[in-house]
Symmetry: C2
Subunit: 264 residues, 2 copies
């Protein structure tokens, strides 16, 4: 993929729309299981050489495997445990430079983990409490959800880079002025946000109901569409923006000083 | 879960219907990537201390992690690498005895791997060939698909056990007579099979199209519904039956000899 293809705003938008499907699917899968608080309680299960909760342990194991198949070489993947990754066993891919060199340092995963565990899990689970046989299944679904949400939120880096490339003068001035509010306004499109929420309601409805039961009394939504729209409104969209702003605020670290000087 | 709940045919059927959703979701996710033949080619990537293809290596790593969170203690989970599993780090669950003691020995996973790689992957992938950046992603999706299909097919053991419990005299006679055909006929319900296929077409359609584009020119099915129905018709349903028959043919190994003698 060429940088100009990756940074085409139409392509970015299409990728973001496709990620909604993955997130909705993953939340529907998670909804089969109890909320499973034991999974999120630090050191509830004594794990040798590990300090943390069960989900964190399981997620770390997955990242260790995935790092070996070079998941985190991809600029659109952001690990939860960047300091613990292993070397890939596949030959390296020389991705073209698309994002700024500090891009990996912008990592919202600890915030994602927090709102996911505290706000999302209790709302999408089919029932509150533990079901001992399903702690592993619940955490496996959690990992899918977390990875999908994390990819969506950190995709903000591509949006930010694309907007920066489109209008360097505007952004260089805003960044030099430290105008966080101005940057945020420039990347906010309320009409698009409203469209996302409307589309999520339809997707959650369409993917979350067994269509062969659509007109029966058993018709049941696996996850309430409002919960998914709310997840986006309250967490995913604002955190994506935060990633974009954080990325842009540092953007001059990776810009030609001569160009910057023209705007001082 | 009590054995009588697990072996209730209504509950088993509901679980099988729910698994369809998972399988359809997983195939839709796989369809984002190229067919990626390199992933399935033995020793295409030299992996230290491993003889096999890349997918097998990645799947083994996952099973090693999942075995530690006791996935394979559950009677409805069947590993692809049973001889290599690790010990769980969670306290063991004492599942009530539901299936016969030899149940773990009935394992159709090598057949599942074969038809999945040869027949399903080329048909659901968005394009034929390799896309180097996505070999890891493709194989991650493959693992989800394989595990979901394997769970569905081996669930036949519960169907078989439930049917055996419902009519021991019939099955003891058929088993003593080595009447494979009779056993197969007794577990076959063509009307139910036709319903499954019809429902899959509707599900693939409903879950595979972005509903906000349903009436637009961009309306696109991520996976052709006929491919998913065909997968069930040609592979999943026959292999489930094979699992059921294999399970039943050995069922007297775990029956009271006195009862068996009444039918000799």
């Amino acid at each position: 993929m060429k940088p100009e293809t990756v940074l085409d705003l139409g392509n970015i938008r299409a990728a973001l729309v496709r990620m909604e499907d993955t997130i909705v699917f993953d939340l529907i899968e998670r909804s089969q299981f109890f909320s499973s608080p034991s999974v999120y309680q630090p050191n509830k299960f004594p794990i040798p050489n590990f300090d943390g909760n069960f989900l964190e342990w399981a997620l770390l194991q997955m990242e260790l495997v995935h790092s070996q198949i070079r998941r985190y070489e991809a600029p659109d993947e952001t690990p939860f445990f960047p300091e613990k990754l292993m070397k890939p066993i596949l030959p390296p891919i020389n991705y073209p430079k698309i994002l700024a060199s500090y891009s990996d340092e912008i990592n919202a995963n600890s915030e994602i983990m927090k709102f996911y565990v505290e706000e999302i899990v209790p709302k999408v689970s089919c029932k509150q409490g533990d079901q001992l046989e399903n702690l592993g299944s619940a955490s496996t679904c959690d990992i899918e959800c977390l990875q999908a949400i994390s990819r969506r939120i950190h995709f903000g880096k591509f949006v930010a880079e694309a907007k920066y490339q489109q209008d360097k003068p505007l952004y260089i001035k805003l960044i030099l002025a430290g105008d966080t509010k101005g940057i945020e306004d420039s990347i906010t499109n309320s009409a698009v946000e409203a469209k996302i929420l409307a589309r999520l309601l339809v997707k959650a409805e369409s993917y979350g109901i067994d269509p062969s039961l659509r007109y029966s009394q058993n018709r049941q939504n696996k996850v309430q569409p409002e919960i998914i729209a709310q997840l986006y409104k309250q967490w995913i969209i604002p955190l994506t923006k935060k990633v974009e702003v954080d990325y842009l605020l540092r953007r001059l670290e990776d810009e030609d000083p001569k160009l910057i000087n023209q705007y001082r």
